[in-house]
């Protein structure tokens, strides 16, 4: 487990770095094809939505294809919100194990993502906590599930997949 945690910590750092470097293909390659990506909405001051099939999410994709769609839009040059892209810096910390079940290693962490809009020279920090479900494939850990609980959910204009 301790080795697994060190490996998971490195994977989470790598994920943040690849997003900051806008290396989209390498980032997508971290995800299993059936990876679930879920960022619930909030239904009160203290509770997020709990069932993405009955309640609203900020983002919900049942597979990596949803993330690939996001990358397509980012690369299209035809999204005014994404052209030019914002610059980001991910800080991922407090990585800790959260159990292992059916070959999936759960890892919790906290994040700050600093986002800078070159158009207005303004910046914002998105922060919250993340649970990754990781599996081992071909000797390396890959992402099977990612749940992002965004603490500051009044979104300034936009939040794209690379901002958390």
């Amino acid at each position: 487990m301790s080795n697994g945690l060190a490996e998971a910590t490195a994977l989470l750092a790598l994920e943040g770095m690849l997003l900051d470097e806008q290396d989209w293909d390498a980032w997508l390659a971290l995800y299993e094809e059936d990876a679930e990506f879920w960022m619930p909405a909030w239904k009160s001051e203290s509770q997020t939505t709990g069932d993405p099939q009955r309640e609203l999410s900020l983002i919900y994709y049942a597979g990596r294809a949803g993330l690939e769609d996001r990358v397509q839009r980012i690369r299209s040059g035809k999204s005014v919100a994404s052209t030019p892209l914002r610059r980001t810096a991910h800080m991922v910390g407090n990585v800790m194990p959260a159990g292992e079940e059916g070959g999936v290693l759960s890892v919790k962490s906290s994040f700050n993502v600093h986002v800078y809009d070159t158009r207005t020279k303004t910046q914002h920090v998105f922060f919250g906590r993340t649970t990754h479900g990781l599996v081992r494939r071909d000797g390396a850990l890959r992402i099977r599930r990612k749940k992002v609980v965004l603490a500051n959910d009044c979104i300034p204009t936009m939040l794209d997949i690379y901002c958390v």
Partner: protein, 462 residues
């Protein structure tokens, strides 16, 4: 002279030449809005005072406060308000502000409780708004005048509902709600009647801000013209999905086949008091969550209403709420914060008791299209921000965005209005690519009318 409680109403308004803001010569074939309407802080102050704080505003749904002692909080213009049911279940709407020193009493978006104490000095109110305790009143040695002063939460001047939608006005000088909404009410009917037991907000509220004027959002909801240029990347994602799924699989979004959309009809209705309804054919109606139960819906509400439920329809109830049904169904509340800053509170709307499969369809299309974390809304708000920055070109005065479709607009109704049984002020039908902009005239005529009414009142008070 000592200032009194009502002095704020008597502060002279900033000098704004209102007639300079709108160039309404529709009969001659021209209409324009001056850029100062979007960039002048003095205009914004007048909008707060003479529009938002002087007419009916949407404040919530009855279904958000179903039980005795339930409450929800919102704002009317700059004013924090609370909508609540008292212990007997009667609805009321009050300024959310302690009568002692002004502190907000209700600190959450929604909640329940029989009594609510101010967190500062402890004055306590019941859910009828009555002040039931002034902390240590017996020991206070208050002067007599204190006992003669009302301490209850201040009710709004007018509070009423239509089909479960709650509206309030801080000014008593408004027409009755039904008259205010006029035939825009039919746009509400088409939403509310989608479920046999009405509609509900899907759990999970989403809020966002953008750094631009609130009227960019007001307009965008009725703006067919922007869709293809602004949402090219969203359309591209839908095209890819369509190419990857089995040919027989149902469309994932009404916008999947944008060619079919572009070949369809779009229409506009404007109503008195600034309300408008943009509508359009929906060539991909099988993508709609309601489609699965269409025969039952037709049996319940009739073929005409069912057809209108399947249409694209974006309804604006001036000044602060829009119900858009296109990719999915959204209720959005516009909260202007400054001349160049706006907050939006948004909800997914669904028929009560919707089937599981339909709900999933509704959610996924909603998240894709409407969320500030999705594929479409960020491009809208980024475009508003581009407009706000560009409108700072101070040597430019007039916009050119209010004359498309002028050849198609007519006074009064049309066959579509007739089948809905409504009498709009203007109506228009054209091809999708006409991109009608005359629908905004309805918004701005009411906007200017309220500003002028307020200016006349101020002049009378001075």
């Amino acid at each position: 002279m000592q200032p009194t409680m009502n002095d704020r109403a008597n502060i002279p308004a900033p000098a704004v030449d209102l007639d300079r803001l709108i160039d309404d010569r529709a009969a001659e074939g021209w209409f324009s809005v001056h850029r100062d309407a979007f960039r002048d802080p003095a205009v914004f102050e007048l909008e707060m005072k003479h529009i938002f704080e002087a007419t009916w505003n949407f404040v919530g749904l009855e279904s958000q406060v179903p039980n005795p002692n339930d409450f929800l909080t919102t704002t009317i213009g700059r004013s924090p308000v609370v909508v609540m049911r008292d212990a007997e279940g009667k609805l009321g709407c009050f300024l959310n502000s302690c009568r002692h020193k002004g502190a907000v009493i209700f600190h959450t978006g929604e909640g329940n409780g029989a009594h609510h104490s101010c967190p500062y000095h402890g004055w306590t109110y019941d859910t009828g708004g009555r002040c039931v305790a002034v902390t240590s009143q017996r020991q206070a040695r208050y002067p007599e005048a204190f006992g003669a002063t009302a301490h209850d939460l201040a009710p709004v001047a007018r509070f009423d509902s239509y089909r479960g939608l709650l509206f309030a006005s801080l000014s008593p000088d408004v027409p009755p709600l039904a008259e205010y909404l006029s035939d825009a009410r039919r746009g509400i009917d088409i939403v509310v009647d989608q479920g046999p037991d009405g509609i509900e907000l899907v759990p999970g509220a989403v809020s966002f801000t953008y750094n631009a004027n609130w009227k960019f959002q007001l307009e965008n909801s009725s703006d067919t013209y922007h869709f293809i240029p602004t949402h090219t990347s969203y359309i591209g994602v839908l095209e890819k999905r369509r190419s990857q799924r089995a040919a027989a699989a149902p469309a994932g979004s009404i916008y999947e086949d944008i060619g079919a959309q572009a070949a369809s009809r779009r229409g506009s209705f404007t109503f008195p008091n600034g309300h408008v309804l943009m509508w359009g054919d929906n060539p991909n109606m099988q993508a709609r969550p309601l489609y699965a139960s269409l025969p039952q819906v037709e049996a319940r509400v009739g073929k005409v209403m069912a057809k209108w439920m399947m249409y694209v329809r974006n309804l604006t109830l001036f000044p602060n709420v829009q119900i858009a049904e296109n990719a999915s169904m959204q209720l959005r509340i516009i909260r202007p914060l400054a001349v160049d800053r706006t907050e939006m509170l948004t909800y997914c709307v669904a028929p009560k008791g919707e089937a599981a499969e339909s709900r999933i369809k509704r959610l996924r299309q909603y998240e894709d299209f409407f969320n500030p974390t999705g594929f479409a809304t960020p491009d809208d708000t980024s475009a508003y921000e581009a407009c706000q920055r560009g409108d700072d070109a101070r040597t430019l005065d007039w916009q050119q965005g209010y004359v498309r479709g002028m050849g198609a607009v007519r006074a009064g109704g049309n066959p579509e209005a007739e089948e809905l049984g409504i009498s709009p002020e203007t109506s228009s039908v054209g091809g999708y690519l006409m991109g009608d902009e005359t629908i905004f005239h309805g918004n701005y005529r009411a906007w200017l009318g309220l500003l002028k009414r307020g200016a006349a009142k101020d002049a009378g008070a001075a």
